[in-house]
Amino acid sequence: MTAQETSVPSPSAGPQEAPVAARVPERVAAAARRFGLVVLLIVLLPVFAALNPAFATYGNSMIVLQSVAVVGVVALGVTVSMTTGGFDLSAGACVGFVVMVTALTMVRFNLTGGTAIAVGLAAGLVVAAVNVLLTVVAKVPDLVATLGTMFLFQGLALIVTSGQSVSAGMTVAGAPAPGRYTEGFVWLGGGTVASVPVPVIVFAVLAAAVYVFLNHTRWGRALYAIGGNAEAARLAGVRVARYRALAYAISGLCAALGGILLSARLGRGDVGAGDPYLLQSVAAALIGFAVLGANRPNALGTVVGALFIGVLINGLTMLNAPYYTQTFVQGALLVGALVLSYTGRRERSDR
């Protein structure tokens, strides 16, 4: 028996009232948790601009956004995978695998850009299918299952290309490869619409779509219900296995989309091109937990997280910080955000 759960026996008693005014330091801490990251991002912008005038130009803004776009697209997928309490560690490997698959489709098999996109998205679904088999069917814990999938598809990307990069004019069985990247496909990575780069547009549209999906549809609500209390969701009639599969499918498709954009920007299939995207996208999604006190994976937070990483790295680069400090800076940012979203979390659930 849990005496704490027994409520006040008086029928007229309402819920325990919170103290009229929480103490000032507590309120400051609460505000810092809620708005800390957004404020920090807004403060960073004029600081970088003051230190280097070239930072605050339209051109540089687009460079930042362009660099953020692929990470952001992948991170939105990771975010969806996290809503059910899962975790897609295979996202980065999926990006790399799709880069190779799209390059092969056009260069080695001389097929159209449209076919390459379709094959790339299908490859994302294959990665997702393996994740679903492992987590939902074989009941392997998400973190280690997707770690396994990550290795599988990093390896598979090497096998299908014999460990070599795929570019136009490469030698295949003694003869030059027949195809090359189509113009339309390359436009996805380097083109602009009204001077906004295409990947940025894709990122913006996807962010809006994921936001609406998670916050305003029953599917999103069901995903969060599973993440919050899977047993309660099951007993409320939510088909938990299907929704967990759906989450991985969306994550796989987003990673594939990220891979397509990256492949288009590179114009070739580079071995290991997807490698940095796992840590960056996971960091963006986790930083997103802390945005506006959501304390859970959310689309808006992930966008802020991705922008944060992009701005910080671009700003530091323009201040001539060496490239090899980038990983450390991202790590520090992630650790800070984790403290923001996990520390003091208890308060919320206290009776």
Binding site: S7, R218, R221, G228, L235
Partner: protein
């Protein structure tokens, strides 16, 4: 046990308050050396709190406790251990470390003993383990991983460790709840031997047969007070009667009176033929008619939840077949049950119904999100409408539809998780222990609203406290250890008859 011996443990006038609730009131209890005292009571009677106070996990609000005549006040569980109080908790697997061997588990305590040295060797560990194991006649291979052992052997490891610390008082909290009858028998023999060696034992169980077999005395708790003490040989029926208290026959709550008479001509909402609570149980039939509230009562472990979850697709049907409104019904999962018009409010509210941090509104609409969608998007208006309706009907008191559900009192949370199903107008509404941790006022609110708004549907209310069921139901099924012990009309239900059936004394 000699009358003159000084009691090992002596608790006098102990009370414990949580917030505004008294979990224990003026409890007085003595256990002498070699004496086995049974502690029994329904959920919420105060058993767990008494165990916590004795084992140092909670401090009494008032009252005194003596061990071997010396006044003690445990600041924490370690103090109680040092004073010679050993507690074996209900969940066996909390007491063993998976991934290590039997020997390592048996010798866990020596890891933190002073002077144990820095290194462990297999030979020394095994020698020590053999000594510990001998006390409970455990002859499992010492090098076997602990997870390969049966539940009963794992249990014996936990008890062996407790015994090796030479306790003065041993508290066993439902030690047989996961064991088979044979395994339980072995355990009882060990407990008897330990008592013969002079250890005082407090034995908490819902299994009356064990209490009867084992205990020199039985203490019955109800509402935090010691209601009665029985000396062996105990009369099971009398024990259960003391546990349950008098049935208040003030008549059913308003509106429920008419419910008692179900429409006998109509097709039953649910017909369950040849169902069982568990494999090997006796098959029986259950029928619920439209407009009827059927009560299901039984002590903890009698199979109520196991039966009801089969009707909801939450666990596979053991045997027999189901008809819903005369049509074959075999739900694969809760989703299928909900679609067919069956609703289920589970026993453990916080583990099985509450999504942490979610608002009242989101809890209300979760089972029926599709109905609240307009061209793919959730309609706030529709959601608010539903949530407001539940709040209105059930008189939910709290800060509003958007407040996190945790900010509501237990009773008001329960109104939300029960009320949301009524909104769906199901054909069959199944409520498993709907009044657990719910105050009297909220209980009356829920009962009244159920009686008023369930016209035409079938309702099943299960509880281990018959009082809660008698107020609502027209007909009551009594389960005992997985089998149907009998059926009574609510009007004929007396504390004595229910106690006879619930204790299995009728069989």
């Amino acid at each position: 046990m000699t009358e003159a011996a000084e009691p090992v443990v002596s608790v006098s006038g102990v009370s414990k308050r949580y917030g505004a609730t008294w979990a224990l009131r003026e409890v007085t209890l003595e256990i002498g050396p070699g004496e086995i005292v049974g502690l029994i009571g329904t959920n919420g009677a105060g058993k767990s709190t008494l165990i916590k106070v004795l084992s140092g996990a909670a401090q009494p609000t008032s009252g005194t406790m003596r061990l071997d005549g010396r006044a003690v006040r445990h600041a924490g569980p370690l103090d109680a251990l040092a004073a010679g109080v050993q507690t074996v908790h209900q969940n066996i697997d909390d007491g063993v470390v998976f991934g290590t061997t039997v020997a390592e588990n048996l010798t866990l305590d020596s890891l933190s003993r002073k002077g144990a040295g820095w290194f462990t060797t297999r030979a020394r560990t095994n020698a020590e383990a053999r000594e510990v194991a001998a006390a409970v006649r455990l002859d499992a291979p010492l090098d076997a991983p602990v997870e390969t052992l049966s539940a009963s052997d794992r249990q014996r490891i936990v008890i062996a460790r407790a015994v090796s610390r030479r306790p003065r008082l041993l508290i066993l909290d439902e030690p047989t709840s996961t064991l088979s009858t044979v395994e339980a028998g072995l355990l009882l023999d060990i407990v008897k031997e330990m008592a013969a060696a002079g250890v005082a034992v407090l034995y908490v169980s819902h299994r009356l047969a064990e209490i009867e077999d084992l205990c020199h005395r039985v203490v019955v708790l109800r509402d935090g007070r010691v209601r009665r003490t029985f000396a062996a040989p105990v009369d099971r029926t009398a024990v259960v009667e003391a546990m349950l208290g008098d049935l208040a026959h003030a008549g059913p709550v308003d509106g429920a009176g008419s419910r008692a008479v179900a429409d006998q001509a109509a097709t039953p909402v649910l017909v369950a033929a040849g169902v069982r609570t568990r494999p090997g149980g006796e098959p029986f039939d259950v029928e619920v008619r439209p407009g009827e509230i059927l009560g299901v009562v039984g002590l903890v472990g009698s199979g109520k939840t196991e039966l009801l979850e089969q009707f909801y697709g939450a666990r596979p049907l053991q045997s027999g077949g189901l008809l819903l409104d005369g049509l074959p019904y075999r739900p694969r999962d809760p989703h299928a049950a909900v679609k067919a018009g069956v609703a289920f409010a589970a026993e453990e509210r916080s583990a099985q119904a509450i999504v942490p941090g979610w608002s009242v509104r989101a809890h209300v609409t979760l089972p029926r999100l599709r109905q609240h969608s307009r061209s793919g998007l959730l309609s706030r208006r529709s959601e608010y409408g539903s949530a407001a309706a539940v709040i209105e009907r059930f008189g939910v008191r709290g800060p509003g539809v958007d407040a996190p559900i945790e900010t509501l009192s237990g009773g008001n949370q329960q109104k939300v998780v029960v009320g949301r199903w009524l909104e769906a107008s199901p054909r069959l509404l199944i409520l498993d222990e709907p009044f657990r941790g719910v105050d009297v006022g909220a209980r009356a609110d829920i009962g009244r609203t159920l009686a008023e708004h369930s016209a035409g549907m079938g309702v099943i209310v299960a509880s281990s406290d018959p009082q809660e069921v008698v107020e609502l139901a027209g007909r009551i099924l009594v389960l005992h250890e997985g089998n149907l012990a009998g059926e009574i009309r609510a009007g004929d239900a007396t504390a004595g008859r229910l106690a006879t059936l619930m204790s299995g004394a009728a069989a």
